[in-house]
């Protein structure tokens, strides 16, 4: 049986890990302000973070929180570790910024530093770079979190040689944002602080709905 061994969820300016809220900021903070506060709370130094667009920052933070107390990165072969992410808006938030930069002939300023983030899988690239993870990649776009798709695809990756996967949802669309990332591993019993849920659709839906957010 393949398992889910840790997860993190970010929503409503709060961060939860394995269902428990570990960080919350003032709900009135903007996304940019919240991301900056959460980065400080995480306590890592990673200068590349500051160059990222909002979606990559959100995905980066969610993955860091999911990984933080685990031995996922040391116990798995990172050449056989997959990253499978999804969302509804693709990279639309940054697409709008790029579009805005070319809308006006008299104020035309397309920038490569923005344009590079107009692909949703750049978030996968940022995670891969941070942790030297070189396995399989896929970025799916679905109307909402598709537990069936993510679980089935992760299973198929494990069947075809992957040993572990970072899987989830990273969405930024206007004022709405949410990230939900779980760490999945091929069956083994050595994981430190693992929560050991079976990798199936019911588990994913359960852990996705587990956090009791503070309102």
């Amino acid at each position: 049986m393949n398992t889910i061994n840790s997860y993190a969820h970010i929503k409503y300016n709060q961060v939860s890990v394995n269902g428990e809220i570990v960080f919350q900021s003032n709900p009135s903070l903007s996304l940019a302000e919240f991301l900056s506060e959460a980065y400080k709370a995480l306590g890592v130094s990673y200068p590349k973070f500051h160059k990222m667009d909002a979606q990559c920052k959100l995905g980066f933070l969610c993955a860091e929180f999911a990984l933080k107390e685990t031995s996922f990165l040391t116990e798995n072969d990172l050449t056989k570790t997959a990253i499978v992410l999804s969302n509804a808006a693709s990279s639309l938030e940054t697409d709008r910024i790029h579009q805005h930069s070319i809308d006006d002939r008299s104020n035309y300023f397309p920038s490569p530093a923005v344009f590079v983030y107009t692909l949703p899988n750049i978030t996968i690239g940022e995670l891969a770079i941070k942790h030297k993870i070189t396995g399989e990649n896929a970025f799916f776009v679905s109307e909402q979190l598709d537990a069936n798709l993510l679980v089935n695809y992760t299973e198929s990756l494990i069947q075809s040689g992957s040993e572990a996967a970072i899987v989830g949802w990273v969405e930024v669309d206007g004022a709405n944002f949410e990230a939900f990332i779980f760490l999945s591993e091929k069956q083994k019993d050595t994981n430190k602080n693992a929560i050991f849920k079976p990798l199936n659709q019911t588990s994913v839906i359960t852990i996705y709905n587990q956090t009791i957010w503070t309102h």
Partner: protein, 376 residues
């Protein structure tokens, strides 16, 4: 065993696979210098003529209610459904749509009577679902320039898992000011037809295309290609978000997993070959490192430009067609070797009997994907 089956290419070179193969066989290229509506400057791009699209619209129900990408996608998918006889409502059939930007021209306010929500890829996909009345919501894959070939690999995996018997893989992207201005800001565009792997290559031409291929476990649908998808993998360089690994690490990782040191029957490699200085250099190093230096290589970007989410599907389809015809297709634009890795370019169309080929792709975000196709 998972087979490749009926397919279609819609591009500046034609509206069917046959028209496209014929054009490429005659060394006709789809890339031209033209003026685009949004600029006084000429751009060297592969654009599908509006008049030709217009002629095809009679084949589409309520043609005016679809965006350009939707129109082309409907035509391409319809062609494959007609050829294969697969019923779109069939519960064992899935559509995977591969794209980088989908209906991005909606952001440019191109359309008056189109729901702007269709700029969302999931809404775009549901529009196609409702047009064809597909049993399942399409799966959308948006993984930069490897999307097309990765979608074919994913189709194979889904069928192997037992969930489906048939997966239609459709890849599409259109020319837009959005992508042209972005690649221009990177200084990545060539003002002349691009020259993959050549010493004088300076960058890419953008192109638009939609291509569809049926992936199936139904042996009776395997004709006339009689080709199976042997294996496919993706890997990340974990190096840089917009530049490839200098040592071709991710592509090398894919190639070593795919070829398993048995390269005897590989007729050629259909490379990504965008004609940017860094990409082609990286690919040559990866091919060389993987011991593939004697295997002939082509890039089809010289004919079609870079068609982004369509590229992996289109280039696979054309490669299948070339294997069927026992022909190697010339790598258009190549004259003088301009990469440091030891590789063998296909410098003219030539007859050759072979039974397998490799398709590769690499893209922003450090992603790479490779698949191996072999005759059964």
């Amino acid at each position: 065993m998972i087979f490749t089956s009926c397919n279609n290419i819609i591009s500046p070179l034609g509206f069917s696979t046959q028209e496209n193969y014929q054009a490429v066989s005659n060394s006709i290229i789809g890339v031209k210098k033209i003026k685009l509506p949004f600029s006084q400057d000429e751009f060297c791009v592969a654009k599908i003529s509006d008049d030709k699209v217009q002629e095809q619209l009679t084949h589409i129900k309520n043609a005016g209610t679809h965006t350009k990408l939707e129109q082309l996608s409907i035509l391409s998918i319809q062609d494959v459904l007609n050829q294969s006889g697969i019923h779109p409502k069939d519960n064992r059939t899935l559509l995977i749509y591969s794209t980088t930007k989908g209906n991005i021209d909606i952001l440019e306010n191109t359309y008056k009577n189109i729901d702007s929500k269709r700029v969302y890829l999931s809404v775009f996909a549901k529009h196609l679902q409702s047009y064809f009345q597909l049993a399942h919501t399409p799966v959308v894959l948006s993984n930069a320039c490897i999307s097309g070939i990765l979608a074919i690999i994913i189709a194979k995996r889904f069928i192997e898992q037992g969930a489906y018997d048939n997966v239609l893989v459709c890849g599409g992207d259109i020319l837009s000011e959005f992508t042209i201005s972005g690649f221009k800001s990177f200084n990545a565009l060539s003002n002349e037809p691009s020259k993959p792997f050549d010493a004088n290559r300076v960058g890419i031409n953008l192109g638009e295309a939609v291509s569809t291929i049926l992936v199936t476990n139904q042996k009776e649908l395997a004709t006339p290609y009689n080709t199976q998808i042997v294996s496919g993998v993706s890997a990340n360089d974990a190096n840089h978000i917009s530049g490839p690994s200098r040592t071709g690490d991710g592509l090398f990782q894919c190639l070593t997993q795919i070829t398993d040191k048995n390269t005897n029957d590989i007729g050629f490699i259909s490379a990504h070959g965008t004609a940017t200085p860094f990409n082609d250099e990286m690919e040559s190093i990866a091919f060389d490192r993987a011991g593939l230096h004697t295997i002939p290589v082509n890039s089809l970007k010289g004919y079609y430009g870079h068609t982004l989410g369509a590229a992996g599907v289109l280039e696979t389809v054309l490669s299948l067609e070339s294997m069927k015809h026992h022909r190697l297709i010339k790598s258009e634009g190549y004259e003088t070797k301009g990469v440091t890795g030891n590789i063998t370019m296909i410098e003219s169309h030539q007859d050759k009997n072979f039974t397998s080929f490799i398709k590769t792709a690499s893209g922003f975000g450090g992603c790479n994907a490779v698949a191996l196709f072999r005759k059964i």
